[in-house]
Structure formats: structure tokens, C-alpha cells
Symmetry: none
Subunit: 248 residues, 2 copies
């Protein structure tokens, strides 16, 4: 088995299970511990995973809930500022949930007149602080993990909406694999959101670039804007610049 194959195998395990044990890999791949450790180190150097004592963890699996201190808050504010530029008076906007979106909402101009649909209660509460924004919260089953509504009812309601712009956070984006996710229901949800907006902007901190997870949401071509905290010319974005995609 070639080294590259081993690396791919490891990454597949990581994306599948969010974690992997060194000892498991030794068994599965039938090589020495040292080799696995070296492999993991190389993948760390490529910025593809986190190494911990005993194994490795997925980058996308970021210690799920830390509401006191928003992870990478500065980056998210930078993204929020860029996203605000897309919003014009009179627009109908659909948003997902997540801390990045929340930071974006806090940065909207006070006088903005617009209609916002959202599946996130927290986003709704934040949007309600703007006098001229009409807020419609899409109801349904409430997800304990993602803190958004999901399920059949949400998707049915989304089908009735025609939005000018959809803003969504993401757990992973990859130049070839497009938008991917780990959970089936969230995957379905994102597809429905994409379907009801003319354009979609993906808000994404740079460390979620170049990651592909189990379930495909859409190809990269279905996205109109990619917003990261990086400068336009940044090297990490070159593979995305080749696609038909506005980068902010």
C-alpha cells in the first residue's frame, strides 16, 4: 500500500468518524506505529487534522459548544463585514444558523429595510433588534446540536419562499467536492435552502476550506459567493478562484 493511499484512508476515517486511534490504524493498515505517527504528522503539516495523544481528530469537529467564547471570533467578524456588503434595502434574505451568521447579523446597518427568513431562533432574536427588518422564523423540530429548526416541516415551508439571497455557514467546503456535511437532516435542510434562493453565499472561516465530509450538499458551482476572512489574493483561495464563484 502506497503512502498516499494510506493518507487517503486515514482522512476517510477521520471524515467519517471525526476521530481515529493510532492503534486502530496500525491494525487496519498493518504497518508499524511509527509509520502511522509519521503519516499523522505529515497530515498535520498539511493542515488536514489535529493530532492528539492516542490518535487524531477532525478539524471540522470543533469542540461543539462553547457559547461563552465564540471560536475564532475575529475571523467571523471579518467575514460578517464582507457579507454585509451583499445586503441591500428591500431584499429578501434567508439565513441559516451558527456563530458566523450571528456575527454577521450584529454588523448590519441600523436603518436597513429588509425581510429575513431564518431557521435559527438566536438569529431571529438578534434580527429583531432592527426596527425595519421583518423577521420570519421558520418553525419545525428544533435541533439540539445545531440550534436550528429542521425536518420535513421546515423543508415544506422553505419550498414556499423565494429569496434573493441565502446566507449559510458551513462545516466543510472543497474545490472539487463542493459543500459537504456530516448529518443527513442538515444536509437535506441545506439543499432546500439552496433551492429557494436566487443566489447563495457561503460564510466560511479559512480552516474549513479544503475539507470534504461524508454527505454532499451541492457542487461548488451552485454557490455564488464564498466569503472567508482571507484577503482576495490569498493562496489558499486559488483553487476556488478557478471556479465560477465570487470570492469576497
Amino acid at each position: 500500500m502506497l503512502k498516499k493511499e494510506r493518507h487517503d484512508f486515514i482522512m476517510r476515517q477521520i471524515n467519517l468518524h471525526n476521530r481515529v486511534l493510532t492503534s486502530d490504524l496500525v491494525q487496519l493498515l498493518n504497518v508499524s506505529e511509527d509509520t502511522i505517527r509519521r503519516d499523522l504528522q505529515e497530515l498535520v503539516d498539511e493542515n488536514l487534522l489535529y493530532k492528539v495523544h492516542g490518535g487524531a481528530l477532525s478539524k471540522s469537529y470543533h469542540s461543539s459548544f462553547d457559547d461563552s467564547t465564540v471560536y475564532a471570533r475575529d475571523s467571523k467578524i471579518a467575514i460578517g463585514k464582507k457579507a454585509v456588503q451583499l445586503i441591500k434595502d428591500g431584499m429578501v434574505v434567508l439565513t441559516g444558523g451558527g456563530t458566523t451568521i450571528l456575527e454577521f447579523v450584529k454588523l448590519l446597518p441600523q436603518g436597513l429595510t429588509a425581510t429575513f427568513f431564518t431557521i435559527s431562533p438566536l438569529v431571529a432574536v438578534e434580527l429583531a433588534k432592527y426596527n425595519n427588518i421583518e423577521v420570519i422564523l421558520i418553525g419545525g423540530l428544533f435541533s439540539k446540536n445545531s440550534q436550528v429548526t429542521y425536518g420535513g416541516q421546515v423543508i415544506t415551508q422553505l419550498a414556499e419562499i423565494k429569496a434573493d439571497l441565502c446566507l449559510m455557514g458551513t462545516s466543510a467546503i472543497h474545490p472539487d467536492e463542493g459543500l459537504t456535511d456530516t448529518y443527513w437532516e442538515i444536509n437535506q435542510l441545506k439543499k432546500a435552502m439552496l433551492a429557494c434562493a436566487k443566489r447563495t453565499a457561503v460564510l466560511c472561516i479559512s480552516e474549513k476550506l479544503d475539507i470534504a465530509l461524508r454527505l454532499r450538499v451541492c457542487p461548488i458551482e451552485s454557490i455564488s459567493h464564498l466569503i472567508t476572512e482571507l484577503d482576495l489574493g490569498h493562496e489558499s483561495l486559488s483553487r476556488y478562484r478557478e471556479k465560477e464563484l465570487n470570492i469576497l
Copy 2:
């Protein structure tokens, strides 16, 4: 289980419940007390929580005092405790919004298995902290004043629900005039909520007793329970005791 995963688990517990007991963690994670204590110490070193005798506390719990700014919080907690007694495993409950309801939700027992419908995003977020409660957020226009969803869509959806119990806060209750309100839309909403529940409990701090506002929601007979912070025998409640109404 990797150490990092344990740390994440602990942080999730902390952020969910604002506190955690060492002994609980020992059981849940199946490791020795020493390990848990060391984990907690490491998280303290990372400035992620406070350690106290017997367990640990969330940092945000101490720093953010927005709880204490709730008006008449003690009364609302007293009401919440009484309201919890009405909730049994397996029930389908519908709740409104408001700080009284929110305090009630925080007092629910951890293991409770139930289904909650709610029109309040904040209540939904709070309910989501209970593993065995299914939370359905009813969507629609979002009211900037009351922080609940309202309007035609909400009423349509309410019509499809059959709840065992409805819990609502109120701005006014009067022995002769019944439940009253100031805003047309909220009035409609409350009527719809009443209609879809077998029984309705009104949570109401004593200073809202004996007040009648412009719009009638329902006569006092339509309410099955009145819950205030007062003792059962309190004089202010005498006029209500004469009605067919359980007083808690």
C-alpha cells in the same frame, strides 16, 4: 476515549447546564475521580471554567449577570417550581414566551421525557438543553416586542396541535373579566393557544392580578390553573378561589 474528547464532553455539559458534578462525570465517562479532577484542572488552566468543591461551574454563568436583571425573578422562580408539578412524563405541552415561562423551563427535572411546542425562540433554546424533550418551535412572523412568533401562520399551525397542557404568561387577569390583553395579534394568538390544549395554566406574578385590559382573551372559566407566587390562602386570591379554577 481520547482526552480531548473528554474535555469537549465536559465543556458541553458545562455550557448546557452551567454546572457539573465530579461524581456525575465519573459515571458518565467511566474514568476515575482523579482523571476528572485533572481534566477540570486543565480546563481551568485554559480558562474555560471555574472549579469548585464538588465539581465545576461555567464561566459565563458567573460573568453574565443578565439573569439577575429579570424583573421579580424570585417570584418567577417560585411560580416556576409550582408549574413544574403539573408536568408528567409523556405529556405534550404548549408554551408561550416571557421570562416567567423561561424560569419555569430552567426548573424542569433533567430526565423529563416530553414533547414541547413553543412560540418562543428563547424557550426553545432553553428546552433544547434537556436530552429527552422533543422541542418543536412554531414558526411565523417574529414579534419584536414579545419575542414570540405570531400571525396567521402560527395560528394555522396551532390548529393542528392537540396538547395536554398549555402554559402561558399573561399581562393581566381579573376575576370577572378573565384574561385580557392590549394587542390584537397577541390576543388572537392566545385564543388559538387556548383552543388547542385540553387544559391551560396561567403563570402570573401577583401584581398582574385584578387587572383588565382592552381586549378579552377568554373568561376565567376557560383557565384550569392559576399559578402565582402567593400562598394558597392569600387574601388576594380569594376572588379567584370562588371560581372553578385550581390555584397553585
